[in-house]
Each structure stands twice: as C-alpha cells, then as structure tokens.
Amino acid sequence: MEKEELQAIKDMDFETAFKALQENINKLEGEELSLEESLKRYQRGQALARHCAELLEKAESQVRTLDMESKQTLENEE
C-alpha cells in the first residue's frame, strides 16, 4: 500500500473512515475488479478497520466549557 494513501487514512476522522470501510466492502462485493485492484481494496479495508479501532481505543473525549457572557452564579446543589 502506498504511503500517501496510508497517510490519508490516518488523517480521517472516525465517521469518514467508518463510512469508507463500508464503502470499501460494497466495492469489493459489487464490482468486477482485477486481482490487483481487489488486493488493493483488501489492504485498504484492513488499514481503515485498524484506524477505526485505534480511534475508538485511544480516544479521550475532549470537554470545552463555554464562557457564558452573562455571568450567572451557580447555585446548583444536587
């Protein structure tokens, strides 16, 4: 697999990679592909799946708190 393609996959966000993975299966399933192209698709699928799994395993949800313009005093006591 070519470096550029691998890098492009690594740059994908989860949803894009996940969709590309589904798409890849459809292509592999539906189209008359040469052996070489099939192999490329296969490797691409593996790379996409690995990337998706890695994103899921490693992600840490980022939390950002908005600065409320009108200052509210927080009187919540749950």
Binding site: D13, F14, E15, F18, L21, Q22, N24, I25, L28, E29, L33, L35, S38, L39, Y42, G45, Q46, A49, C52, A53, L55, L56, A59, E60, S61, Q62, V63, R64, T65, L66, M68, E69, S70, Q72, T73, L74, E75, N76, E77, E78
Partner: protein, 412 residues
Amino acid sequence: MNEQYTLFQPKNILSVSQLTSYLRQLLESDEILQDIWVQGEISNFSQPSSGHLYFTLKDSDSAIRCVMWRNTAARLKFSPRDGMAVEVHGSMSVYEVSGQVQLYLDTMRPAGEGVLYQEYLRLKAKLEAEGLFDPERKRPIPQMPKVIGIVTSPTGAALQDMLNTIQRRFPIASVVLAPTPVQGSKAPPGIVNALKRINQESNLDVILIGRGGGSIEDLWAFNDEGVVRAVAASTTPVISGVGHETDFTLTDFAADVRAPTPTAAAEIATPDRIELLGVIAEFINQHTILMSEKISDLRWEHGQLQNNLDRLSPAHQIDTYRQRLDELTHRLDRAVQANLERKKLQLENFQQSLRGLNPKAVLQRGYAIVTRHEDGSIVKNVEQVQPDDYVHIKVNQGAMDARITQIDTGEA
C-alpha cells in the same frame, strides 16, 4: 337540678374501651372525615426505625397528630421536616391505646404543589395546542456525533454521568458544555441563555439537556415556559434527561427525544464502542471472505482460460491432425482389407469355374475324349469319322482303342 340528678344516677356507664371504640366507629363512618385534605405546618417530626412517619400538623391555633405508614412514606418525593408547610390527605380515626384522635395519611406534598401542578397542566395544554410537542417536529439524532453539546450545571452529578457515559461509549465525540444553574430562580434564564449560546457553536450534532433527580420544585425550571420554548426552538436536535424515569417535564415533551435520565440521554446520543468494534471486526471478516471468494473466482477463470488456450495451441492442432491421421489410416486399412477379401472371393470363384473347364474333371464326370487314330484330332462331330475308322477313346484313368461300327446322325 334534673341534669345534676342524671349525672349522679347514670343509666349506662361505658368502659374506656367502649368509648374509644364508639368514637372510632363514629369517625370512620363519616364520609367527610374519611377523605379529607388538610394543610398545616409539620412539627415534632419523627421517623423511627420502623419507617413509619409521626408528626403534629399545626397552624397558629390548633394541632392534630398525623401518621403515615412506611409503605406510603417510601413513595414520598421529598423529605418532610419540622417547619415545612404541607398539604396532606387521609382519614381520621382514633388510636385506641392512647385515645388519641389521629389523621392517617395516604398522600403528602409540599404546600403550593397543587397550584404548581395546575400551572403545569395549563402550560402543557397551551404549548401542546401551539404544536410545540408535535411528533412531526422531532428530528433524528445523528448516529455518530462529532460534537455533543451539554446544557446543565457544571457541578452536578448529571454532568459527570453524561461525561462518563460519553467517554465509555464513544470517546471520539468531543463535548461542549454550556454551564447554567438548573434549579432556583436563576435557572430558567440561565438555561435559555445556555441553549442560545450553544446553538451558536458550529459543528454541533446534538444537545443534551438535563439534571439529576430531585423534588418537583428542583426540576421546576424544566417546566418554565421560556425554557420549553427555547428547547423547541433549538436548531440542533435536543435530547432531554431530566430527573428520574418517573419525572416528566415539559422540556421532555419539547425535546426531540426524551431520555429517562441524564445517563440515558448520553447513551441515546452515542453509539456503543464495544458494538462498533464488533461491527469493525465483522467488516474485516467480510473483507477476508470477499477476498478469498475473489481469489477462487479468479482461479476458476484461470482454469477456464487455460482450457481455451490449450484448445487453441499448436500442440492441440498437431494432436487433432494426429487423431485424424489415425482415423484415416484405420479407414484405409479397412478399405484395403475389404478389397483383398473381395478379390480373394473372386479368385475362388474363378478357380471354381476353372476347375469345371479342366478336361480331366470332365472325364471324371464320365465323359470321354475321342480322337482320330490317324491324326489325333478330337472328334467333336460324327461327320469326322467313317465306319471302320479306328479311334482312340480317352476316359478317366486310361484309354482304349476302338473301331467305328455304325454311325447315327442326329441328336445324341
């Protein structure tokens, strides 16, 4: 005088038990006293280990003992305490052991709640009529959110529950928090402001709004008309998770999806990581299956092509010619053989005929050859001989000489 007399000369003297029992029957047979609402202030509150509640309900002038059994008390949505104004419902009876007239409670709520509830119903009907809660207004929730907005208190348990759930299920999503008080008088304008502010964020996929469980007053901000309208007006889909399973606020009706709790709201907003990993594993599996199918297809195709090629190759041509040659050779052999047989048969026929022409064979059949003695010529005709001529007669296995004695002409 008469009265005095009666007091000293009683007709019927009751025992204490008879009195309390009579009193009890009297109270329990009164329809009004068996279904009665009373409002007052709690004092001398106690809840012993039995779980039953005991207190005195009083106003400025009077007091009455109240009892609430454990099972009923467990359903209370607030913690009663001394000094609290409440509205209670129940039936009057007598505790015969002490002769105490008591109110046995089946319902108790903070004073004013009934008014709040009426207000809630009025507002609900109004907003419903405006179409704010229509099912057609509900929007789908994106399946894989990139950014999740949260409108809640920054210090509440609800925020932690939602963040934990997002981190556990789909940590890929990032969170934008619009902090706001969620109870008290500042909660409604705070929530409205937070909803407006968070809707200005770009790339926001869904908004979670909610707070943890509490009393009806605690949750009341989520029944505020302004808050409900702000939820309905949100440009980003909203999932509400206010209080517990049993709490229904108007915010819930206006939201695109109502979740029973803040945690459940976060669950609805996110796909589950474990399930996704399962789906991804299944995708890999499908890739492998498709690839091996592809390879076996190609192998079969290759086999077909190899066959075609073999048929077209010079070697195959040569084989074809070789086979045809074999065939022709065989046919030739057969033709020659047949010819030979025919000739042989012909020859035999000839031989047969020839055998018939052999003079010896004629002699064997009893014929004789007669030759003239003088010149040895064969006598084929009576005119060749005269009487007294000598002839030589050749027969089978010998010959003899003879003299002609008589000649007859004509047919033999």
